[in-house]
């Protein structure tokens, strides 16, 4: 059978990926540059018997997807800067109560209303630490339309598997650009569903680590056994507790269910890093310019490579560590912000490399030429 090749926008690919992953509930509030995700969901979900609702704000949208997820629906919301800020408290609720859900953040220029129609990557730290308190979270970031599709599926899979909110961190360019894509057959897509407990049990302890993997199996509201869910620190039965050991054990488990599975969660791409002297670290749409620059620089004989992070959080320290076994001397972190990822890369490098930032925060993309110029400058320092 011949596969269909279609011209598709990033935001559209996001909805297609979500539907392929099994999304059947979407709650949102319009905001540029994410709005198409809500619009397309409103059209497509009811066709599949799914549900769409436009809520009164982003706080409500986040609450609604958590509620829907508790009834067993794979749920998603999509927003941008100001809306992402509003969602933070309820994102923390989902982290602590371990409710699977996907939050798409299409980054635009900030702070505040900022540059609504222009790209930025200024929410890197907010995706990690936007909600209060120590918490686990997974953040992944696509660079192309096809990757938006694949990564939306992966966002659902990770979220369902680890019972953690997963943030799909896009930017205006990836969301709005159109590319030709060939979508895979539904039957060839790997889908992960949350673990369920046999509802014939007589007592259900919603936070009991039955399988010893740190991920308690779920049960839907309405399936039979009543249980309690709270945003307070809770014991394995789900009820509030202020016992010091209970708090410690819960937070330890929440962290370790993610940090014990880094091999599964971390994804990154190395291009020409084996013999490179300078490696450019980037993600999202910036990585496209970097890729082009690396190609051109290589033609000139520059020993340059790139590390593209697909998983942003948890940070791929192992990718930086591996570079320590190569001739790499310089790390250049290119991002559309003041250097949010740079600080983490520096910490990870532990002085093994000279680290530089290539930063732009004026609503314009970093161009291949800018990357080339910076690499030349860095090479002179060396």
């Amino acid at each position: 059978m011949s596969k269909k090749i279609i011209l598709m926008q990033g935001n559209e690919a996001c909805v297609e990926g979500a539907l392929a992953a099994g999304m059947r509930f979407f709650a949102g509030y319009p905001i540029t540059p994410s709005t198409e995700i809500a619009e397309i969901s409103a059209e497509k979900l009811p066709k599949l018997g799914g549900k769409f609702i436009q809520m009164e704000d982003e706080i409500a949208s986040m609450g609604a997807i958590i509620g829907a997820s508790l009834t067993g629906f794979k749920s998603m919301t999509a927003t941008s800067g100001p809306g992402f800020s509003l969602k933070q408290e309820n994102i923390g609720f989902a982290c602590l109560a371990e409710i699977p859900c996907v939050v798409v953040n299409v980054q635009r220029g900030g702070p505040s209303t900022g540059l609504p129609t222009l790209p930025a990557q200024g929410d890197v730290m907010q995706t990690r630490w936007g909600t209060h308190g120590d918490h686990p979270i997974i953040v992944i970031s696509p660079s192309s339309v096809r990757e938006v599709y694949d990564m939306t599926i992966r966002a659902f899979n990770l979220s369902e598997k680890y019972r953690v909110p997963c943030i799909l961190l896009m930017d205006e360019v990836v969301a709005h650009m159109r590319e030709k894509v060939e979508l895979p057959e539904q039957s060839s897509i790997d889908i992960i569903n949350r673990k369920y407990l046999n509802p014939s049990m007589s007592v259900y302890k919603p936070y009991m680590d039955y399988d010893g993997d740190g991920i308690p199996p779920m049960m839907n509201f309405g399936d039979g056994l009543p249980y309690h869910v709270t945003g307070l620190i809770h014991d394995i039965s789900g009820f509030p507790s202020t016992n010091a050991d209970v708090s410690k054990d819960l937070l330890n488990r929440l962290m370790s269910k993610i940090y014990n599975n880094l091999d599964d969660i971390l994804e990154y791409e190395n291009i020409y890093t084996e013999d490179a002297e300078t490696v450019i670290v980037s993600f999202g749409s910036t990585a496209r310019s970097v890729h082009r620059a690396v190609y051109l620089l290589r033609q000139e004989g520059f020993k340059v490579g790139m590390l593209r992070l697909k998983t942003i959080w948890p940070f791929a320290h192992k990718a930086i560590k591996k570079l320590k076994q190569t001739p790499v001397r310089n790390l250049l972190v290119a991002e559309m912000n003041f250097g949010q990822l740079l600080e983490t890369v520096k910490a990870s490098a532990e002085g093994a490399f000279r680290t530089y930032g290539l930063n732009k925060y004026n609503g314009e993309l970093i161009t291949p030429q800018e990357v080339i110029n910076k690499v030349r400058e860095v090479a002179k320092h060396a």
Partner: protein
């Protein structure tokens, strides 16, 4: 407590956190009695709350219970009801939870006429945080953040709900318990967004600050000040000042939100 009501409580989670004389337990008891009278299927009942002393009630109740974030119970509840319309949804909320931080969600849940029964534990104060004024604190009353008397005007939650689109609106009190149970039953039976404003007491903070430290004095005040909707209709504005009007204010049949969405699905799938 009657023996047949035991199954609705998580007895191992008791005693509760509420102060002696707090009215929250009375409302919780009335909710459970109404559910029992209607013989609702316990495993299909879902009780959602926000944050506050009152929002702790669901933790003691043996149903699907969700204790969310401050003011947001209706947003979570909307997601649950949309996803699974077979569930019977109650939202238990405090006056601050519902009308201050949660005011926007309250208005919009009412406007959509989504089938959720909202019961407000209205003690006219922020209990959990120690007695600050809420949007329901009467003018001139004292609160820790209104040490010179409150200058804010307060809401009439029933009027607010009705004008926002709620299709069943009533007020009860913790003094008139048999009536309260009947009103909860009516609200639960109603298809659409129902609001029950329950005049409640917080002896610890509202009482103490306003020279009514005994729960009995506060109960007596409710008894003295309450008038029925019917008698109120014959009273002048002046006579009604300071009175608590109790009973049913509004009931109408309007298409319910999740039923309307079912039609959207039909349309989308039928292609016409």
């Amino acid at each position: 407590m009657r023996k047949e009501l035991q199954k609705y409580f998580r007895n191992d989670k008791l005693p509760h956190i509420w102060c002696p004389g707090c009215g929250h337990g009375i409302i919780t008891g009335a909710v459970v009695r109404a559910i029992d009278n209607l013989k609702l299927n316990q495993s299909k009942v879902c009780i959602v709350s926000g944050i506050g002393c009152s929002s702790r009630a669901p933790g003691y109740m043996n149903f699907n219970t969700l204790h969310t974030t401050h003011g947001r119970a209706l947003a979570f509840a909307t997601g649950i009801k949309m996803a699974n319309p077979d569930l019977k949804i109650l939202v238990l909320t405090g006056d601050g939870d519902c009308s201050a931080i949660g005011g926007n969600h309250f208005i919009h849940a009412a406007r959509r006429n989504i089938d959720i029964t909202t019961i407000v534990f209205n003690n006219s104060i922020y209990g959990m945080t120690g007695g600050q004024y809420s949007p329901m604190t009467p003018k001139a009353a004292f609160a820790t953040t209104a040490p010179y008397g409150n200058i804010d005007r307060n809401f009439d939650l029933c009027k607010l709900a009705q004008s926002a689109g709620a299709t069943y609106v009533a007020r009860g009190t913790v003094f008139h318990v048999p009536q309260l149970i009947k009103l909860i039953e009516k609200a639960l039976k109603h298809k659409g967004f129902s609001l029950l404003d329950v005049v409640d007491i917080c002896p610890t903070y509202f009482g103490r600050r306003n020279k009514m430290s005994s729960p009995i004095a506060m109960m007596n005040k409710i008894r003295e000040m309450s008038v029925t909707v019917r008698s109120a209709s014959k009273m002048s504005e002046e006579e009604l000042s300071g009175k608590i009007v109790i009973g049913e204010f509004h009931e109408e049949r309007v298409p319910e939100y999740t039923e309307e969405y079912a039609k959207v699905i039909e349309k989308a799938q039928g292609g016409n």
